[in-house]
């Protein structure tokens, strides 16, 4: 399929430019930070006499002109060198790679849950517009949309682990339980339930609203009437005729919101003490570890760009009418 290939390569080129632009932005953020970076680094390394600061300045090229520093920085970013965290005594890139799997499993599961749940609830609400089930879904959606996710997380912990004792509240696995095989897997799944539901709930509300509005626009169109006149079963009309057309705006917004989801994982991982990127960000904030923070910023941007690429791909599969648009 050459058309899809052209489409994807165009998107890839654009994605590379976006990542480069974000890296440049990142560079200027480092330099906009108040205080001399060499002095900050010296402080982090544990010594701050003038000679050492001067040596650091030379070592990191901070005495060079700005454009030269930018060049060096970009060269390093291309080689996946995001600097060194003196606080953690490790290269930032290694730190990030250690933490990435937890964050990805959290955000991806939440995303899938939110999308499936949101589309299902939105469809239900729209097909029964005006009835009590529509009202109930709308009210719950509005409330979930207005609730801070860190607070939902805390309240779910209060209910399901403190009061009812059904689910674990913290971490990714029971420490020292020594589970193996199936039990270990179930243990991990149990630990992910609350965080995933918390993160997913807000976005489920968003997708429910969107799906409902979108279906209300589509459901009275002529081709739906035709399908009904042909005597197709209702589930087929909804799933094939209505949903396939109504889901496009939902996918667009869902793609856009990938970034928000990753931002939300900072809060969720803080609440549930999950060792992911978000928790790392929280620790970096507490310790004012800018190198790590900026590395997280760059990495999450890259993840979002990849995610947007995937959305474009899914979009072109769901809707074959999509032209190869710039």
């Amino acid at each position: 399929m050459p058309r899809i290939a052209v489409f994807i390569s165009q998107r890839l080129v654009k994605a590379v430019f976006v990542v480069l632009a974000i890296a440049v932005f990142n560079f200027f953020l480092v330099h906009a930070a108040p205080g001399d970076p060499a002095a900050v680094m010296a402080g982090e390394a544990g010594a701050a006499d003038a000679k050492f600061v001067e040596q650091l300045r030379q070592q990191f090229g901070l005495d060079r002109p700005l454009y030269e520093q930018l060049g060096t920085y970009m060269g390093k970013v291309v080689q996946a060198d995001l600097g060194y965290s003196y606080r953690q005594q490790r290269p930032v890139f290694d730190l990030l790679m250690d933490r990435l799997p937890v964050t990805l499993s959290l955000t991806l599961t939440s995303f899938v849950l939110a999308l499936i749940g949101g589309v299902a609830l939105g469809t239900l609400a729209a097909m029964r517009a005006g009835t009590w089930s529509d009202t109930a879904i709308t009210v719950v959606g509005l409330t979930a949309y207005a609730t801070p996710i860190f607070w939902i997380g805390l309240m779910l912990i209060l209910l399901f682990s403190v009061n009812l004792g059904w689910l674990p509240a913290f971490g990714t696995e029971s420490i020292g339980a020594g589970y193996t095989g199936w039990a270990a897997l179930m243990d991990r799944v149990e630990h992910l339930v609350l965080p995933v539901v918390t993160l997913g709930l807000f976005y489920m509300a968003v997708y429910t609203r969107l799906t409902r509005a979108s279906i209300l626009e589509v459901r009275d169109m002529d081709f739906v009437k035709t399908a009904r006149a042909k005597g197709l079963p209702e589930w087929r009309i909804v799933s094939v005729h209505i949903l396939r057309n109504a889901i496009l705006p939902v996918i667009t917004v869902a793609g856009f919101q990938a970034g928000h989801l990753i931002g939300g994982s900072i809060l969720i991982e803080t609440v549930f003490a999950l060792p992911g990127i978000g928790r790392l960000a929280f620790e970096a904030v507490l310790q004012r570890d800018y190198q790590v923070l900026l590395g997280i910023f760059l990495l999450t941007s890259v993840v979002v760009v990849i995610f947007n690429l995937l959305t474009d791909l899914i979009y072109s599969l769901v809707d074959p009418r999509i032209e190869v648009a710039p």
Partner: protein
């Protein structure tokens, strides 16, 4: 002269009727007024600073010297909520104002001039839409040290792109209309046309989005202060939840009540925003309801 005075007042009453038809919006507005009153009279209701110890630590709600309980340091939760309302509303409103300023300026220029200006501005906007917004807000506030100004600017910087797109769309569709062409023929400058002709006509969708953005801004502010990135001199709802996070097992009330305050305020703002949408964009509202 008289006609010019009468017309807006008649439009005003129609606006109120349309707004009042949405029961949720009226309820939201009433609750919002309550919050505003609480913020204004916080010093009268709770004269002592919300940072001061006024009760024994870990007092449960409905105890004698703390209506909603006290926190780990004996600070009154109710006082914190009343004083925190100021911070939330202040940051919500000012950061939205800044975001509207950035977004509408960029969107107006982009939609009005079109061509390469439009291309450039839209690439810039897309870049900011790609960047994970909460991560950027955290990075900005952490680097420029938490203060009222840095928080407001960070929230504004991450929230303007949707407004820029909205304003661009409005300006693009309005700029080819007859009244704009008439203004061009009468020799008005571009700035006058943007400011006096097109902007007033594209205001209603911008107002609706801005009202919803205040709600998002309040959520963002509470998330930032939950992470410890609030202004250290100001009591805020997010900070209260964040500080009580570790004692959730012993003291649910410390995080429960501030969270409820955030939830209700944001809900009220969203309801008011929907009411404004019904009243200002009647065509759109009818379509949405179908």
């Amino acid at each position: 002269m008289t006609a010019a005075v009468i017309t807006p007042s008649r439009r005003g009453s129609g606006f109120w009727r349309a707004f009042a038809r949405n029961k949720g919006a009226v309820l939201g507005l009433a609750f919002l007024l309550l919050i505003v009153l609480m913020a204004i009279f916080a010093d009268v209701l709770f004269p002592t600073s919300p940072w001061d110890m006024t009760a024994a630590p870990f007092e449960p709600p409905f105890s004698e010297d703390a209506l909603l309980g006290s926190d780990t340091l004996g600070r009154d939760i109710a006082a914190g909520i009343a004083h925190g309302a100021r911070v939330s509303l202040l940051i919500g409103l000012t950061s939205t104002a800044v975001a509207v300023l950035i977004g509408v300026c960029l969107g107006a220029v982009s939609g009005f001039y079109g061509g390469w200006v439009d291309d450039a501005v839209m690439r810039f906007t897309e870049l900011f839409q790609t960047i994970p917004n909460f991560v950027l807000a955290v990075v900005l506030v952490a680097i420029f040290t938490p203060s009222l100004t840095s928080i407001v600017l960070a929230i504004a910087i991450v929230s303007w792109p949707p407004l820029a797109r909205l304003a661009r769309g409005e300006f693009m569709s309005l700029r080819s209309r007859e009244f704009v062409q008439a203004a061009v023929t009468t020799g008005q400058s571009n700035l006058t046309i943007i400011w006096r002709q097109i902007l007033p006509n594209s205001l209603s969708p911008i107002i609706v989005s801005a009202s919803l953005m205040v709600a998002t801004a309040i959520l963002l502010e509470s998330s930032l202060s939950f992470l410890g990135l609030g202004d250290p001199n100001l009591m805020s709802w997010g900070y209260m939840v964040g500080a009580a996070r570790t004692v959730i097992r012993q003291a649910w009330w410390m995080s429960f009540f501030p969270g409820i305050a955030i939830l209700l305020t944001v809900l009220a703002l969203n309801l008011v925003g929907e009411g404004l949408n019904d009243a200002l964009n009647p065509k759109l509202a009818r379509k949405g309801r179908a």
